[in-house]
Symmetry: C2
Amino acid sequence: MSKDDQIAFESALFVRAAAVETQLRRILDARPLPSEIARPERLMAAMRHGVLNGGKRLRPFLVMESAALFSADNDAALRVAAALECVHCYSLIHDDLPAMDDDDLRRGQPTVHKAFDEATAILAGDALLTLAFDIIADEATALSAERRAALVLALARAAGAGGMVGGQMLDLEAERRRPDEAGIITLQAMKTGALIRFACEAGAIVGGAPPADRERLAEFGSAIGLAFQLADDLLDLTADAKQMGKATNKDAAAGKATLAALHGPDWARGQLHGLIDQAHGLLEPYGEQAELLKAAATFVAARNS
Amino acid sequence: MSKDDQIAFESALFVRAAAVETQLRRILDARPLPSEIARPERLMAAMRHGVLNGGKRLRPFLVMESAALFSADNDAALRVAAALECVHCYSLIHDDLPAMDDDDLRRGQPTVHKAFDEATAILAGDALLTLAFDIIADEATALSAERRAALVLALARAAGAGGMVGGQMLDLEAERRRPDEAGIITLQAMKTGALIRFACEAGAIVGGAPPADRERLAEFGSAIGLAFQLADDLLDLTADAKQMGKATNKDAAAGKATLAALHGPDWARGQLHGLIDQAHGLLEPYGEQAELLKAAATFVAARNS
């Protein structure tokens, strides 16, 4: 990615993140809706703590940019993007719990169960997951009922037992029994891949794209989901090699198998290049309109933090 | 309720429960769906453990009978009923966790975190909540996209921060700071009332009832939700009075305020009669078709276990 391309991409990511942040803040600061009874303040505070945390908002960016390819309504795309971020953040809140990864800090801040308590963190996660479906199904998401129902279904599949949550389960089991290569691929496709795939597919659904485009965007999402994970594993591996003795190799220390560890950093770099080429190729039909999405693929593969 | 009425009601409840059980089993035994990657067996086993537990299936019954008033498609109603039961069971799994009510047994069986482990129980609950929206939004629920989206929205509102999960939060806070009468009413309307209200409203949505009927069924649901809670509190109170010294008064022991405890058993019995009258009155327009729903209201108020 050239310096200019990188600046253009990072500016766009920043602008999108700010818009999503505003949307999320508006939703989480809202008074009880007509069909709600009351919103307990402590619960809402925990939800805000888990969501309004200065994340990069990569998944919302992918929704927005994919939707833009099909001239989708911007406000509708923004709401779907916000809903997806609620799902992502709920998964982080539950992952951080003592019974799961037991993390005290996230982005330099106390995790939700540390800032509040465990029960509140469980409920805040539950409420965010539920809220995501509320946001999408609401008529305020100015889409046909067909598109809202299709988005609910695709999100539920991506986030459920056959997607993200199932991937979490496989990840827990991987600590007890090291998976083989096929097992690692399945685990990663589910745990991190499914939601990134949904992000790109969702843009196509919001924009009412034909089935072939919807599938193309989903495949693009799968490719960058794989790249995202591989870059993460590679970073973990090489950071360790460079800073020998320092305990940065968290996954290896936890006995977790990754493809990068299995095949080595050179193989991983080669795979990453292949995935970026594949992702870029999938976007060819959309020409210049897809420049920022292409940059997102490059960014995901090149990230070093 | 006459002996004959009671037998008729209990037979109907049993028949409905068996149908819901079959539907739930079919869904939870299914292989990965086309848009899923894989369903981890341990996660599915935990979900089955939490759902296929011989419950009375009262909420599904209310969905089915409410739907029948509007000549709704039986299969569609059954799927929505199964989805609602997934939400109810997820809430029990998370409620039973050590960080929440810390219960080891439910219906004489180990709770999910006891039969499996805490992390698996958290994920099984998450997956069941997600699955509920999957079931409703799926085209296999043979309803128009409008009705599927309306059901998703109503369920999300009933189950989220402004409904059931919010009620759970208030219940946790009530242990630290005893709520006043208005606080107890809000807590109960959210924690147990919202989902029972949804059950009845959902039947009307499935059946494509006009807004006035949808509202009427929702009000019926609210009335029996209140009766359900009051009967529970009354049982707790009188069981304690009768069996002095035995630690059956669990709520009072935990320092929880209930309306029955606040105003006494006679007041509670009077309230219960008023709620049943109100519930029955709301069903008058539907004549004999509503007999089983009326019996459900009586059953809920009279239950002694």
